[in-house]
């Protein structure tokens, strides 16, 4: 519900506060609101169908005057989508389908009863949880950045204003000098969330000091890591928080033009941020003379074509200029000569979203969260063989074990944890022995991995570490821009060696050769893509050397993954002869000996696709 005449810009700090009071006053906190997650994960669970079904049902029962529907951004617990919360009671339902709508309206909205079936139930204790914050997945989280995704409609600037949005901006413009903001951000200890963990204030300071006009600020939402969607969810679910951070940053640095670089594969993020910019301009929070302060700043959206390397700052700037997205050497920093050769400050969108919090609550509040060298919270995209996949926001320093076991609910199907890969495709693999390490920028680097933008892929006993290294090198080979020799040719050779190892053609000297190539890439690559590409190899060699040795010396894949090194067989005493495997086999390699008797597998026909092993829940298909 919009209460403002859109033609009037907010012209002063007082007007902003008056307007905010007006919005809040017109909202009845006791009114029923069904906030439905419409983040990316929930789209797969037909959340849009759910929203439509609620709208229809409410119309049909003529409840429009009593009940609001809000389509919110991502709530993080994607494993259990579609998710919704009923306010003011804050009843949290999960795995909701359109066919549940009628029951929710009659039982919960009208009847006031909680439907147990839709509550989250702990798989082990069977305990039911009514409120989101009590659910184990959320309990250890500190959702400073994602918290507002629970309630606000990302397409409504008034929703953002109602929760205090743009207060940090007005405080910055009217109470603080750019230097004071810079000092506050410096004292907060904020480090860049895009990967490198560079101190944000240091970057800002260089851009502020640099000579040249105009100056640019850029929001990097070119999140290219497979399985990562932190930035996407911020952009889709709360775009104004990112914009507010960028405006404060621009004011601090003295920039007049901003760009949000967002990948074209994120259509909802593009739509929502474009809409947010338009609204902010209409309300006088962007454009000329922001809030009557005399500060001018405009933001444009630029869509990326999907190249992973365009997340690198210089490649991103080349792409923004309409050139091929290839990195260049940063011996002259982009803070001095960046976009169009002008001083430019690029931060990841998660970094930008932290800025209003720091301005509003102060550095002393912020730097109490986290570890000595890494302050604040970090959003991780927890995926892979973990029970609760989703977006997790925790204070820096939370241990891997807490994230994977307490929040993530442990490993699927009771299997054994093997490794977690952090930091995207060029991150490292961390073994079980290091699960109690606190997660922050420096600790992750120490163990050979990195924070990256916050990807976290969990692997279990069924994953082959050589195969996983090969998988990520395949991605990096495709995504290397190819400009510099070591990255282009080096990754190709490393991948050839890894492929040969997984095919049983490994040689003893291969490990040393991989290490030599890795050293070369780290030392001589043009950008961080090549410089970090060896991480998956180096960490798997460091922590899972025995698997390499098994592949090379014994021609054996201990995890039973590498097709050329494995054989499937029937475990006779476990096979009841149900025939499920026969139906699943695409090559008719499995046949009945007699009905209800163990089956046989013809090795000459088997293509080792593993379909039989996947479908058999009795463990009757073995692999060696």
């Amino acid at each position: 519900m919009q209460v403002k005449e859109t033609s009037t810009r907010i012209a002063s700090r007082q007007e902003l506060e008056d307007f905010r009071r007006l919005i809040v006053a017109r909202r009845d906190p006791g009114r029923t609101c069904i906030a439905i997650c419409t983040g990316t994960g929930c789209h797969a669970y037909d959340c849009l169908g759910l929203v439509a079904a609620f709208r229809e049902e409410i119309q049909r029962r003529q409840l429009q005057d009593r009940v609001d529907i809000t389509a919110t951004g991502c709530r993080g617990f994607c494993e259990r989508g579609a998710l919704l919360t009923i306010y003011p009671q804050r009843i949290f339902y999960q795995q909701v389908k359109p066919e549940d709508v009628s029951e929710i309206i009659s039982q919960t909205i009208i009847g006031g009863n909680v439907i147990d079936r839709l509550l989250y139930s702990d798989p082990n204790t069977k305990e039911l949880f009514v409120h989101q914050e009590d659910v184990p997945f959320y309990r250890k989280q500190q959702r400073l950045l994602l918290g507002n995704n629970n309630r606000i409609d990302p397409t409504s600037i008034e929703d953002y204003l109602a929760v205090g949005g743009y207060t940090a901006l007005s405080k910055s413009l009217f109470e603080l000098s750019p230097k004071q903001i810079m000092d506050e951000v410096k004292r907060s200890g904020l480090r860049g969330r895009g990967g490198g963990g560079f101190p944000t204030a240091v970057k800002w300071e260089s851009a502020r000091r640099a000579e040249g006009s105009p100056k640019y600020v850029i929001g990097n939402c070119d999140e290219g890591d497979p399985g990562a969607y932190m930035d996407r969810s911020l952009m889709e679910g709360n775009p104004h928080s990112v914009l507010e951070g960028m405006i404060i940053g621009a004011y601090t640095i003295g920039a007049s033009i901003g760009y949000v670089y967002v990948r074209h594969e994120y259509p909802l993020a593009v739509t929502n941020v474009t809409m947010a910019i338009k609204q902010a301009e209409e309300y006088g929070l962007l454009g000329e003379n922001i809030l009557g302060s005399g500060f001018d700043f405009r933001v444009k959206v630029s869509r990326g074509g999907g190249a992973f390397v365009c997340g690198e700052s210089t490649a991103l700037m080349a792409s923004l200029e309409g050139k091929v997205g290839e990195p260049r050497a940063k011996y002259v920093h982009t803070a001095e000569k960046g976009l169009y050769g002008k001083p430019s400050n690029l931060n990841n969108v998660e970094t930008w979203a932290n800025v209003p919090l720091i301005v509003l609550n102060g550095a002393d509040w912020y730097n109490k969260i986290g570890t000595k060298g890494s302050k604040g919270t970090k959003i991780f995209s927890l995926v892979g063989k973990v029970n609760n996949t989703g977006l997790v926001e925790v204070p820096m320093g939370t241990t891997l074990r807490e994230i994977i076991h307490d929040i993530g609910g442990g490993i699927r199907e009771g299997k054994k944890f093997k490794s977690v890969q952090t930091g995207g495709p060029s991150g490292g693999f961390i073994p079980e022995s290091l699960l109690d390490m606190p997660v922050d920028f420096d600790e992750l680097t120490k163990v050979g991995s990195m924070m990256g933008s916050g990807g976290m892929i969990v692997m279990d006993e069924d994953n082959c570490m050589v195969d996983m290294a090969k998988y990520f090198l395949t991605f990096l080979e495709e995504e290397s821009c190819g400009k510099c020799l070591p990255c282009r040719e080096g990754i190709k050779r490393m991948l050839q060696i890894l492929t040969d190892i997984t095919r049983g053609k490994g040689r003893e000297e291969d490990i040393a050769q991989l290490e030599r190539l890795s050293d070369n890439l780290i030392d001589s690559s043009l950008c961080a893509l090549g410089g970090t590409a060896p991480n998956p190899i180096l960490t798997t060699i460091r922590y899972f050397r025995d698997e390499y040795v098994a592949h090379i010396k014994d021609r054996r894949c201990p995890a039973g993954v590498c097709k050329d090194l494995i054989t499937y067989f029937i475990v006779d005493d476990k096979c009841p002869g149900c025939g499920l495997c026969i139906k699943s086999c695409p090559k008719e390699a499995i046949t009945f000996v007699a009905k209800k008797k163990p089956v046989i597998l013809d090795q000459s026909l088997c293509i080792k696709c593993g379909a039989c092993r996947d479908i058999c829940k009795l463990g009757a298909i073995g692999v060696k």
Partner: protein
Amino acid sequence: MVTLTIDGREIKAKEGLTILEVAQEHGIDIPTLCHNEALEPYGACRLCLVEITARNGRSRLVTSCLYPIEEGLVVNTASERVIANRKMLVELLLARCSGEKVIQDLARQMGVETVSFRPEYVERNNCILCALCVRTCQEVVGVSAISLANRGVHREVAPPFLETATACIGCGSCVYICPTQCIKMEDVGDTRIIHNWKVQFKLKKCKVCGNYFAPEAQLEYIRAKLNLPQDFFNTCPNCK
């Protein structure tokens, strides 16, 4: 002026120069492949890596063709780390372009006798992807008829959409600059053909000696650019 040390020698040089420029001025040899002084530095071949040591004692490798000199900079152009990296780079090049003499010679100079990769990995590409041709066409000729297409291992020098290089004027600068002679051009009678870019040009006949001396398209490009008279190129440079 800036004072820096290269391989133990104290050198004073003009601010704004790169390490490579200063080294070359003082006869210190740093190998390069993708560098040409007529072009903007590019930093793709990485052969010109040198080790620099900052005042805090930390050292790192940088490409000397791009790194601007600074006061107190300490440069080592042939440290153990530099040599190890250069050798691996040459080995990678040799594995890509095993048949190229210029690469073989370079390898020999650096003491790389054999490639440590498996024989089945070794390729016989002609192009080392130094992009000298593309950059010359863009920066010197000014027509950008060819560019680098695709990413990573699929990267190649190509005319637009892998079809005919319609903007090409047939000047042959790309052929001239290519260190591995992998761009094939020939003049047959009154026609110039550049096979790689799928283009043919009619050659201009000199009114005096009767020899074909340059593509008409190139002469027209130069004439228009320099605003020369229509008949300026009716005679060849030798007969002028």
